[in-house]
């Protein structure tokens, strides 16, 4: 096993154990989305119109839920010191932890989205488009969140600071993710334009996120 696969396997195992972040993220997502129809009432046209935005907001909050423990857990029990002593570059270590986070919290949301979309009066082809935007967009949420998680690592109550740092940075993802999903659900704009920009944002965050987070971690350690 290479160092990075060992880290990936370990982080995914921890997330999937009892009390881990994987189940919590999905449950939170389901609860938030389920509550909306109760609050808004059975107006099917309205639900269809705001459905994509609600799913996206819930996905954003759910992926934020587990982020604050991403590095703080390793920092608190001393694992981070040892991880810094490994031979794997810190940028790749950070990216691997991000990948593990996405596989255990982002990907389950993407898989649940079509099912939960039914509650918001979304039909199958629309669900497919929504699922695609979430599949492309949630990695960006994770990798932008990495930076906030790294900055908040030494703080006892870092979760709030994390939300304050990360949420404004995710605004572009939210705008283009919801725009693409809306285009598929209600039209009349083309799906491709916002979706392409969403892809570009994700690719950029995959590159920038690990470097920024690794730099923040190095700074914190001093």
């Amino acid at each position: 096993m290479t160092p990075l696969t060992a880290l990936l396997v370990r982080d995914m195992r921890i997330a999937m154990r009892v009390g881990g972040s994987a189940l919590m993220g999905v449950l939170f997502f389901l609860v938030v989305v389920t509550l909306i129809p109760f609050a808004i009432g059975p107006d099917l046209a309205l639900l269809k119109r705001i459905g994509p935005a609600i799913l996206w907001l819930a996905a954003l909050l759910a992926s934020l839920l587990a982020l604050d423990r991403l590095f703080a857990g390793d920092h608190d029990d001393g694992s981070l010191d040892l991880i810094l002593m490994g031979r794997a570059p810190l940028e790749l270590v950070v990216a691997t932890k991000g990948l593990a986070h996405w596989l255990t919290t982002g990907l389950p949301l993407v898989i649940c989205a079509p099912l939960i979309g039914l509650l918001l009066n979304l039909d199958l082809p629309e669900d497919g488009a929504l699922m695609l935007t979430l599949f492309v967009g949630t990695p960006a949420l994770t990798f932008i969140g990495l930076v906030g998680a790294a900055i908040a690592v030494t703080l006892r109550r870092g979760g709030l600071l994390l939300a304050v740092i990360v949420l404004p940075l995710t605004v572009p993802i939210l705008i283009f993710g919801v725009a693409a999903a809306n285009a598929a659900v209600t039209g009349p704009t083309a799906f491709g334009t916002p979706f392409t920009i969403l892809c570009a944002l994700t690719l950029a965050s995959l590159v920038v996120g690990p470097f920024a987070a690794a730099a923040a971690l190095r700074q914190e350690m001093e």
């Binding site: 096993m1 290479t2 160092p3 696969t5 060992a6 880290l7 396997v9 370990r10 195992r13 921890i14 154990r17 009892v18 009390g19 881990g20 608190d76 029990d77 001393g78 694992s79 010191d81 040892l82 991880i83 810094l84 002593m85 490994g86 031979r87 794997a88 350690m221 001093e222």
Partner: protein, 201 residues
């Protein structure tokens, strides 16, 4: 292999912790660091592996692998045990062995050497403080690295485990390794140099 510190100084925030520290340890030798609380024993160890910036002086390693930093050739046994409670004893050790580059890790024999062989499938959350420390020590045995940096290694260990640790340290020194240990009392290293911190130089 020779680890040398020349005129080392440590600064934590505004406070100068220590300055003008010199030491040299060679393969097969051990160095114990003693001193009152807050004298900088742990800080010196963390400096060696680059977790704290060196405020002054030089730290060099001769005869090591020139491709690798000191930290990448060292094991650090700190106050925290770096274990995940939700993973089993075997999984915890297997992870660190894999992360430190061991291709095919057999967690059984290191666990046997620290007396935890029967607990390999138990979640680490159920271990006592001494057992957690022994599991951390198993990491040093599982992955061979020449430099051991030990911070109060015996603090939670019972008498039998302390003897076991002393044997493991002797075996490590006999195999050409070197040990730097911070401790208040004797940790069972028979022929160790001593570095006292916090006294007038």
């Amino acid at each position: 292999m020779r680890l040398t510190g020349v005129d080392l100084a440590c600064q934590r925030g505004e406070r100068a912790v220590f300055a003008g520290i010199n030491f040299a340890v060679e393969s097969g030798q051990a160095l114990t660091i003693s001193g009152r609380n807050g004298a900088g024993k742990s800080s010196l160890l963390r400096m060696v592996i680059g977790l704290l910036p060196i405020a002054g002086g030089r730290l060099t390693l001769e005869g090591g692998d020139p491709e690798l930093s000191i930290a990448e050739q060292a094991h650090y046994l700190g106050h925290q045990d770096a274990l995940k409670g939700s993973l089993s004893v075997g999984e915890n050790l297997g992870f660190w062995a894999g992360f430190f580059g061991l291709r095919s890790a057999d967690p059984h024999s290191p666990l046997e050497m620290v007396g935890l062989a029967g607990l390999a499938s138990l979640p680490a959350a159920y271990l006592s403080a001494g057992q957690r420390r022994r599991l951390s020590i198993a990491r040093l045995i599982a992955v061979p690295r020449p430099i051991w940096l030990l911070d109060e290694p015996t603090s939670t260990l019972d008498a039998a485990a302390q003897d076991r640790l002393a044997e493991l340290m002797d075996a490590h020194l006999a195999g050409g390794g070197l040990i730097v240990a911070a401790s208040h009392g004797p940790i069972g290293l028979s022929a160790a140099q001593e570095l006292r911190l916090g006294e007038a130089p």
